[in-house]
Symmetry: C2
Subunit: 348 residues, 2 copies
């Protein structure tokens, strides 16, 4: 197939054109056909891979900005492919952890074939009796984010009340399912009737609200949580966070996972109700999944059997082909996707 | 002197007149001379006390507002004396924990004599070889606040960088000294040259800044903390918190003790940089001293010997007599006091 002899093949790529401010457009990216020699450079300890699935995640908005402060990720490089999580097959390995034919998930390029130069950050896929695309979501970074954020950061107790914003997204849908399995009362917010139905009927949330149809978020939360909120899994920031702060219970916890509503704003909205952190002795903690990847084996042990039993489900929004990848990524920022947004590059 | 026979004595009182909004004035209070029978009501398990020192604390601003949500303290009652922490001597006891002649600190009224109806919330003063007024500050609620906030909430490590706002106040001056003794690098902010000098020369802070003279708080913090801040002891909220958020180090901690800058605002200022909690995986935790009073014996064990060795010092701003109490309390909200604001009612 590939690799041997190192023949040059077509390599379709999604190129990041230039930094954006405000709400990004598809024109921030362009499709390019280049060619690539299917051989590892001499002495490389990297991996030559064929990309199968690519993941669209909201943190990627940040990488489209020229970041002048140190961050957990770098800015994308204008003129180079978009970088993101993906599932790939190893065509040639210069690294002892991987061999030809292995499947992995980790950072790769938005292109057909990639040279991965940091194989030590990739995870070998050992379980293939589940859809491979799950390793961009449920079994990949979003899954670990939900797991670490809920169990490690939120310190949940059985019977507590849990609120999740952006709840039908890749992370939110899993936090809600983990919380339900753990014995919590779970409410999620989302931005359409379709998503609200999904939360209630597919993911088993106890209740759900469409934030776009609520005139008064504070009143909506009081309706859903007459006794208040123990745990808030924060994905959006802004007005929702302000309303939640008014409804936290004493000794509540807020896991700060993302503030999607802010990513596209030049000047982020102000949060006015932080005083409630003190009045209610609330702990609010930002976290990043990178600090928790050592728990991945424990996570798989918990989640794999439950997927097979149908106790944890996963809804994906699948874009077909690199051609549709820019629209899929941009759609994420306006909530266009329903469930985890994946791009299929190849099903081999 | 008092008590026996239950004769009626003059009882000068500072009466709370009515709820205030915005910045309170002395006229929110008035002095009244009433009389009081120096005898416990029949069957009371309370305490009849003579007040010696009263404490002015910034949380009291909140009690001057009509609070319609449950809070850790109630609103003051219009027409009744101001309530606050104080040091008092027991004249008559209906409670097994106390006997006539005992000294205590706890909630009492702003008046010469009080009937304390919840003696179980008061602490008996066992160590009288230190100034009694210290039990309104260093050895009382502010001391415990500093101790619990720094050691329990901030999880400090030797060598870390610590920033304290309102640093010359009752709590701040102690957090700084605890942090120095623990081996941290400590910087405080205050609102006058006199206070800044106090921080550096009296309390042994490594550095201090006058926030009123800094045009750019972010730049000032970058000057004081070129590598960033590990721990922020938050007493003020508002613009200072926003600037600190830009300067936190990865895995930093913020203990939310008060947001003094907000107490007098109808609509609190917005905080715009919360995204940094996520980017830097910062934990921000509000706390109240009430949750930590079980540590009081451990706290005394740590702090008493250090007071006697002169390793922990305390600066008090002393108002003489109930007549000066309203001005002392109001002065707190504009930073008029230098150090812990105390009112002497009687030195017996």
């Amino acid at each position: 197939m590939a690799g041997e002899g190192g023949e040059a093949v077509r390599n379709k790529q999604v190129i990041f054109r230039d930094y954006v401010s405000g709400f990004p457009k598809e024109s921030a990216m362009e499709l390019r056909e280049s060619t690539m020699k299917l051989r590892l450079p001499e002495g490389s300890n990297g991996l030559l891979v064929k990309n199968l699935y690519l993941s669209c995640d909201s943190y990627m908005r940040r990488r489209m900005t020229k970041l002048d402060v140190p961050s957990y990720v770098d800015s994308f490089k204008p003129g180079s492919p978009i970088i993101g999580y993906g599932v790939a097959r190893v065509l040639e390995s210069g690294h002892p952890n991987f061999k030809k034919g292995d499947l992995l998930w980790g950072f790769t390029g938005w292109e057909e074939y990639s040279l991965i130069t940091a194989p030590e950050t990739c995870f070998k896929i050992e379980h293939t009796d589940v859809p491979l695309s799950y390793y961009t979501g449920l079994l990949g970074m979003p899954g670990m984010t939900a797991y670490a954020g809920f169990f490690e950061v939120c310190s949940p107790k059985k019977g507590e009340t849990v609120f999740i914003s952006a709840a039908s997204g890749a992370v939110g849908q899993l936090v809600g399912q983990f919380a339900k399995l753990f014995g919590c009362y779970v409410v999620g917010s989302a931005g359409s009737k379709e998503k609200v139905d999904l939360l209630k009927n597919k993911f088993g949330f106890d209740d759900a609200l469409n934030y776009k149809e609520e005139v008064d978020l504070d009143a909506a939360l009081k309706r859903c949580f007459p006794e208040g909120i123990d745990i808030y899994f924060e994905n959006v920031g802004g007005k929702m966070l302000d309303a939640v702060l008014l409804n936290m219970k004493i000794h509540g916890r807020i896991a700060g996972c993302g503030m999607n509503s802010l990513y596209n704003l030049e000047q982020p909205e102000g949060i006015h109700n932080l005083m409630n952190l003190i009045l209610k002795r609330v702990r609010m903690e930002g976290f990043l999944v990178f600090d928790y990847y050592h728990l991945y084996p424990k996570f798989l042990e918990m989640v794999l059997p439950r997927i097979k039993e149908g106790k944890i489900v996963c809804v994906e929004d699948i874009a077909k082909g690199l051609e549709d990848a820019p629209a899929a990524l941009i759609g994420l920022f306006s909530g266009h996707n329903v469930g985890k947004q994946v791009v299929v590059v190849s099903q081999e």
